[in-house]
């Protein structure tokens, strides 16, 4: 029996693990078998994480977070949760390997997954010219013409990165202005290989077994046109990964996990949420890390209250550990 199981290994999951481990809660982190480290594993330079004035590569940042969590006693498993039983006071987590783990508390930090446009050609040609990861697939578009769909920071970062390979990168956006931060916008505007296509929605992806073009529809007058190209990178946002807790935890109208006020407490006692899975708005590595801290502290308070109510006592009282940490 564990004190806490953390599901997810992005900035939220690992920060929760660092705090929980320092409170001697010996957290188990279920990191995922093939997506450990979360979304930052597919980014390049991270320039806005405090403490790294020269920037840091996303995968390096995640390796450091993991190292920090493990240093204080977190155990990391490269496995996937296939089912969750969270109704009673003891939570049960079943993994892809068949292993079963139990704990008094769960931190649910599964992050988010790239949003799809939701058109027929997109699914059919996924991996055949339709991509959701510039750092993974950009290499295959050397001297080709491609498009990035989206107007946020991720779209600008991908477009700028892809100019290392592609001869031409269109950025297709529904509106006439970008959501992206000024610094990312300016970098993209200055890049000669990038051409902006404003007020346009992608309504179809063309090609038999490889992408040959897009059908664009004007969001102003509804007119349609075709754009010939070899690849399309979709960067239109993310959707929270909540499939494991559908019908188990209350969700918001936006599909994120509903929590009480500014806490991490979900609709089920002993289950806490952190990171992108509860945040439809900010979705930054730093805000996710902060959210992981909130969850770990909420876990400590919950366990302390359980201890006072006479639940099976484990190694040490979490509150004492917290006092130790504060004094250190």
């Amino acid at each position: 029996m564990r004190q806490v199981i953390i599901i997810g290994s992005g900035p939220a999951g690992y920060t929760a693990a660092i705090y929980a481990a320092r409170a001697n809660l010996e957290p188990l982190v279920v990191a995922s078998s093939v997506e450990a480290g979360g979304e930052l594993m597919n980014t390049t330079e991270v320039e806005n994480f405090p403490g790294f004035p020269e920037g840091i590569m996303g995968p390096d940042l995640m390796a450091k977070m993991q190292e920090q969590a493990e240093r204080f006693g977190a155990e990391v498993l490269y496995d996937d949760v296939v089912s969750l039983d969270i109704d009673g006071p003891i939570k049960t987590v079943t993994l892809g390997s068949g292993a079963v783990h139990q704990a008094f508390t769960i931190v649910f930090a599964t992050g988010s997954a790239p949003r799809k446009i939701g058109i027929e050609g997109e699914a059919r040609l996924s991996g055949r010219g339709v991509s959701y990861c510039a750092t993974c697939d950009g290499f295959f578009f050397r001297e080709r013409t491609i498009a990035v769909v989206g107007g946020g920071d991720s779209a600008m970062e991908e477009a700028t990165f892809l100019t290392k390979f592609a001869s031409k990168v269109y950025v297709i956006h529904r509106r006439e202005e970008l959501r992206a931060s000024k610094i990312m916008q300016e970098r993209a505007f200055k890049n000669e290989k990038i051409e902006f296509v404003w007020n346009s929605a992608v309504v179809d992806v063309l090609g038999e077994d490889a992408v040959t073009g897009l059908v664009l529809e004007s969001t102003v007058d509804g007119s349609r046109r075709e754009l010939a190209l070899d690849g399309i990178f979709v960067a239109i946002g993310n959707d929270p990964r909540t499939h494991l807790v559908h019908n188990k935890l209350d969700l918001t109208a936006e599909g994120t996990i509903s929590v009480e006020g500014r806490s991490s407490r979900t609709s089920v006692p002993g289950v806490f949420a952190a990171g992108d899975v509860l945040d439809p708005t900010y979705r930054q590595a730093v805000t996710a890390a902060g959210s992981g801290t909130v969850a770990a502290l909420d876990v400590e308070h919950y366990l302390a209250a359980l201890g006072e109510a006479g639940a099976p006592a484990e190694s040490a009282s979490p509150i004492d550990d917290l006092a130790e940490v504060d004094a250190a």
Partner: protein, 107 residues
């Protein structure tokens, strides 16, 4: 037994002329998801050495084959049988999901 490597020079013999099904994992050093799926493929290989041969093909070192098989996203796993591509799996997946995709061979 972990998965071995194949190259442009040996592909004909390793893959196209092979007797049983051969899964070729198109990968690269710089591809994070490839590095994650690689040990999973090693496990599947060691659990089913008789049923399927799993070979890794580095797309940086063998761009001709990446182009020939129209690879635009990695990891890309293609199962060859009697010289023909029978199954294509794109993207890193957990072991149980890969096992489902490969059930026809290793089930």
């Amino acid at each position: 037994m972990t998965a071995k490597a194949t190259t442009s020079a040996t592909f004909e013999q390793d893959v196209l002329q092979a007797e049983g099904p051969v899964l070729v994992d198109f990968w690269a050093e710089w591809c994070g998801p490839c590095r994650m799926v690689s040990p999973v493929l090693d496990q599947i290989q060691s659990e089913h050495p008789e049923k399927i041969t799993i070979l890794k093909l580095n797309v940086d070192e063998n761009p001709d084959l990446a182009m020939k098989y129209q690879i635009t996203s990695i990891p890309a796993m293609k199962v060859f049988n009697k010289g023909q591509v029978e199954t294509t799996i794109i993207g890193a997946k957990p072991k149980f999901a890969l096992e489902q995709d490969l059930a026809a061979y290793i089930g």
